[in-house]
């Protein structure tokens, strides 16, 4: 049983999805920043994919140099506020904090980062001066974390940037995919708006690129392209009943939740398939939407789940129940989902096998498949020369994110196959610098 009542209005929704990492007030930030030791060659920096100079910005918060702190953050990471809230800090910066060795609570780096960057956003601090217009035009495909990061960096370097986005709003999965208790939609949008004001790049919304001609046009109008196209829809499981009403892909379920908020639909009895972080999110979210029973079903053992420990703990804490070593055989129902037929599994010689005759049914009226996303293979195929690995990830020819089509660079989920927001931000920044270098070298 879960502890949540179905939210009937925005206020109840907000209560059910109470922020895990609320913005600190000035006093909290002062006390917390006072604790930082200012380590040499700080492990927190090395643990951050964007390598923010964390001890420096914490010191700047402590000396009330808040603009300086925000600048330190944004110099390395264009989504400073978003990352402060959505990063799995427990396994990144905060997990590396030396205080852990002493069993002292690590510094709340994520919250401090959000504190400093949100102050800059709220005051609309203009922290960066763009380089002079270098005459180069760059298209960014996708306004997700990678695309926004690349757009900021390219604009800073003096390029004219146009972003093409298929959806109505920017930020990609940071908006449509991150659990509401990690960040509010408004917070995501405010940061992008703040960056856009500062760097002046243009975003063309509801402007999907769907045909080879679209890319031919890009090639004519721009000197280079950054592909921040992320991943596609939830992967099919090739199971009977997968198209029944009430069977959702996790990405689609979360997007529906993020869009409809308290009006989002949820079953009374929900089965979530998968053992990754998205599965944990979906289970948590179903609980908080008022589902009476939420079962997290994973085909291997608890210890083999790819989800971070704290993500599982979070799902468990709101009432989701774990079920391990089961794999679905079919999703049952006529028009609507009524249950899932499972069979138990075991691992023999490192191979997962099903146990004959162990099948049983769990009744449910909603199934959420958190079993991975498809790659954007069809889209990538429209662009001449680009190569992908067998799993569909875009291949690069160097560590600057350059693809086999020299004018195209990439970063984020499309390249790494699906990692954190902070990875996308870091990779896109590198790729943007790669684009700048490529265009500057090609000049003469």
């Amino acid at each position: 049983m879960t502890d949540f009542k179905r939210p009937a209005n925005p206020q109840e929704f907000e209560e059910n999805f109470e922020q895990l990492h609320p913005i600190m007030n000035a006093t909290q930030a002062h006390y917390e920043s006072s604790r930082c030791l200012f380590c040499h060659d700080a492990p927190c920096i090395n643990a951050c994919p964007t390598e923010i100079d964390i001890p420096l910005f914490i010191r700047q918060i402590n000396t009330n140099n808040l603009s300086g702190a925000a600048k330190t953050i944004y110099e390395s990471n264009w989504l400073g506020n978003i990352c402060g809230k959505v990063c799995p800090t427990e396994v990144l910066c905060e997990g590396a904090c030396v205080y852990n060795h002493q069993e002292v609570k690590p510094i709340e780096i994520g919250r401090l980062q959000s504190y400093a960057s949100s102050v800059a956003i709220n005051r609309n601090k203009h922290l960066f001066e763009k380089a002079l217009d270098n005459g180069k035009k760059v298209a960014v495909v996708g306004a997700g974390p990678a695309g926004i990061s690349a757009a900021c960096e390219l604009a800073l370097l003096g390029c004219m940037v146009t972003v093409y986005e298929a959806k109505e709003l920017p930020s990609g999965l940071a908006l449509y995919g991150v659990a509401p208790y990690k960040i509010l939609n408004d917070t995501v949008l405010e940061e992008v708006e703040y960056l856009q004001k500062q760097f002046g790049f243009h975003i063309k919304y509801q402007h999907p690129l769907q045909a080879a001609e679209d890319f031919e046009q890009l090639d004519r109008a721009f000197d280079a392209v950054f592909l921040g196209i992320g991943l596609g829809s939830t992967r099919e499981l090739q199971l009977e009943g997968e198209s029944l009403d009430g069977c959702w892909g996790a990405v689609e379920f979360i997007e529906m939740l993020k869009t409809l908020q308290h009006k989002a639909m949820v079953g009374k009895k929900v089965v979530v398939l998968g053992g990754g972080n998205t599965a944990m999110d979906a289970a948590s979210e179903a609980c908080r939407l008022g589902a009476e029973q939420v079962v997290l079903a994973y085909r291997r053992s608890k210890d083999e789940m790819r989800a971070y420990e704290f993500e599982y703990e979070l799902a468990k804490s709101v009432g989701a129940v774990g079920l391990w070593n089961v794999t679905p055989l079919a999703i049952l129902g006529e028009e609507k989902v009524v249950g899932v037929l499972f069979i138990e599994t075991r691992t023999i010689d490192k191979k997962l096998e099903t146990i004959p005759g162990s099948d049983y049914t769990i009744d449910c009226d909603m199934v959420i498949k958190a079993t991975g996303q498809n790659k954007q293979k069809a889209l990538v195929q429209l662009i001449p020369g680009i190569q992908t690995d067998p799993s569909g990830r875009i291949l690069t020819v160097n560590d600057l994110g350059q693809t086999h089509n020299a004018r195209y660079f990439t970063g984020g989920d499309a390249m790494n196959g699906g990692k954190e927001v902070v990875n996308a931000v870091a990779e896109a920044k590198v790729a943007a610098r790669g684009i700048h270098q490529y265009l500057t070298e090609n000049q003469g």
Binding site: H30, Y31, S34, L37, C39, H40, D41, N62, V98, Q102
Partner: protein, 440 residues
């Protein structure tokens, strides 16, 4: 339970914890409350010439999340009528006959001194403290630290008081002077019964960088104040030690300056103070801190086997000597206890940038190591290390040999020229200046 009672130059009190003359002793209400909570004595907020105080009187130095590490005030002596204060002294003594009530005094002429001594003694004061220390507001009028900075004047006024006083006289010294022993000796010459030190240090506690005015701000202007609080303790302790080590003219000492906990009290006693006076800590945390002072002192005395406070007084003095008497053969080096290290590498940076490049980093581990041949045993790494007992200083000489600078001077083995081979740092390795470019 050990006996905590003390006697300072003829003034007895049930314990060595006194309130210093300051805002916490501004009224009979406060003093009664303090005694009720366990304080043994109180030096009344200075009585004397009429004054007018300003609004906005205090400023503070905060360090990171610690407030009032240092504290500064531009408040003058009491601005309440003398008769009210006298009435309240009488009242307090009625309820607390065993506690010490000391009247702090500051007036100008001999007649005024004679009169006010008589008044406060009639009210029942157990002793007098002559305020020759206040470094703001009153000194411009020829009182306070203006007296404390002129040993002759200090001596004269002390002797005026002694002409009529029936109770013991404490002279409160100002630290705003080059050699604290000069006014201390002048107090002795004037026949004072004890000295108390330190009064506050002349100070500015920072500047409002928007208004461009130092704190505390009085309608857009400021003035120097008197500095106190935990930050001044090291300065005060050195002065207490200097006065306590006088071979001739030594007077009993009431130690003042940055005392906040029982450990501070013990330190002052070991450095030769007979009792202590506290102000800032009470202004910060209230009278309740006396419970920690008392229980901590009791426990310490029990652990060390002291029966009376007086047995402890001055126990550290024999171990404070001049530099020339320190053993030059003594050699310690840092040792990092790997199992305790949290890998912050603060010791590395401190030694690398701030000391002697005697700590190295390896590729394999974040735990730094000591390059013993470069280590001069300066203690810096052990001071910056955030983990207790993680870096310890280990003795490396054999403990048998001893030679001091004084002895070397007598032997004729001290270096005497700028490039003398006998100088200390000659064989000490330092990196090549250009190596600076090869570091991160």
């Amino acid at each position: 339970m050990a006996d905590l009672s003390v006697n300072l130059g003829g003034i007895s009190s049930p314990n060595p914890f006194w309130l210093a003359s300051a805002p916490p002793t501004n009224s009979g209400y406060q003093v009664m409350k303090a005694f009720d909570q366990g304080w043994g004595g109180a030096v009344w907020k200075t009585l004397g010439v009429p004054v007018v105080n300003v609004s906005s009187r205090y400023g503070a130095v905060n360090y990171r999340d610690i407030r009032m590490m240092g504290f500064n005030n531009i408040e003058l002596i009491t601005d309440r009528p003398l008769k009210d204060n006298l009435k309240e002294i009488e009242e307090v003594k009625k309820y607390f006959p065993e506690h010490a009530v000391i009247a702090s005094l500051m007036v100008e002429s001999r007649e005024e001194w004679h009169q006010i001594v008589k008044d406060v003694e009639n009210a029942g004061a157990d002793g007098l403290e002559l305020n020759f220390g206040c470094p703001h507001g009153m000194c411009e009028r020829g009182m306070g630290s203006a007296v404390g900075q002129e040993p002759n004047v200090l001596e004269t006024i002390t002797s005026w008081v002694k002409e009529v006083a029936h109770t013991p006289v404490i002279v409160k010294l100002t630290p705003n002077i080059t050699d604290i022993t000069e006014p201390a000796l002048a107090a002795h010459k004037g026949k004072a019964d004890a000295i108390s030190l330190i009064n506050t240090i002349q100070s500015l506690v920072g500047v409002d960088i928007d208004q461009m005015v130092p704190y505390p701000i009085v309608d857009g202007k400021s003035t120097n104040g008197g500095y106190c609080g935990p930050a001044v303790k090291p300065i005060a302790q050195n002065m207490v030690k200097n006065c306590a080590q006088l071979e001739y003219g030594r007077l009993p000492i009431s130690g003042i300056g940055g005392i906040e906990n029982w450990r501070d009290v013990v330190e002052y006693l070991l450095l030769g103070a007979t009792n202590v006076q506290v102000c800032t800590a009470v202004m910060h945390y209230g009278f309740g801190i006396v419970r920690d002072l008392e229980s901590g002192l009791q426990q310490y005395m029990k652990d060390k086997g002291f029966q009376t406070v007086n047995e402890m007084v001055g126990k550290a003095l024999g171990n404070v000597t001049s530099w020339e008497n320190l053993n030059l053969k003594y050699k310690i080096v840092a040792e990092i206890h790997q199992e305790k290290c949290i890998e912050c590498q603060l010791c590395y940076t401190a030694c690398e940038d701030g000391a002697h490049q005697a700590i190295g980093l390896s590729e394999k581990s974040r735990i730094p190591y000591i390059i013993e041949e470069n280590c001069v045993g300066c203690n810096l790494c052990s001071l910056v290390c955030p983990v207790e007992e993680c870096i310890t200083m280990e003795r490396r000489d054999n403990g048998q040999e001893q030679i001091t600078w004084k002895e070397r001077t007598e032997n004729g083995t001290i270096p005497t020229t700028f490039n003398d081979p006998l100088a200390g740092g000659r064989d000490h390795w330092v990196p090549d200046p250009k190596d600076a470019f090869n570091k991160e």
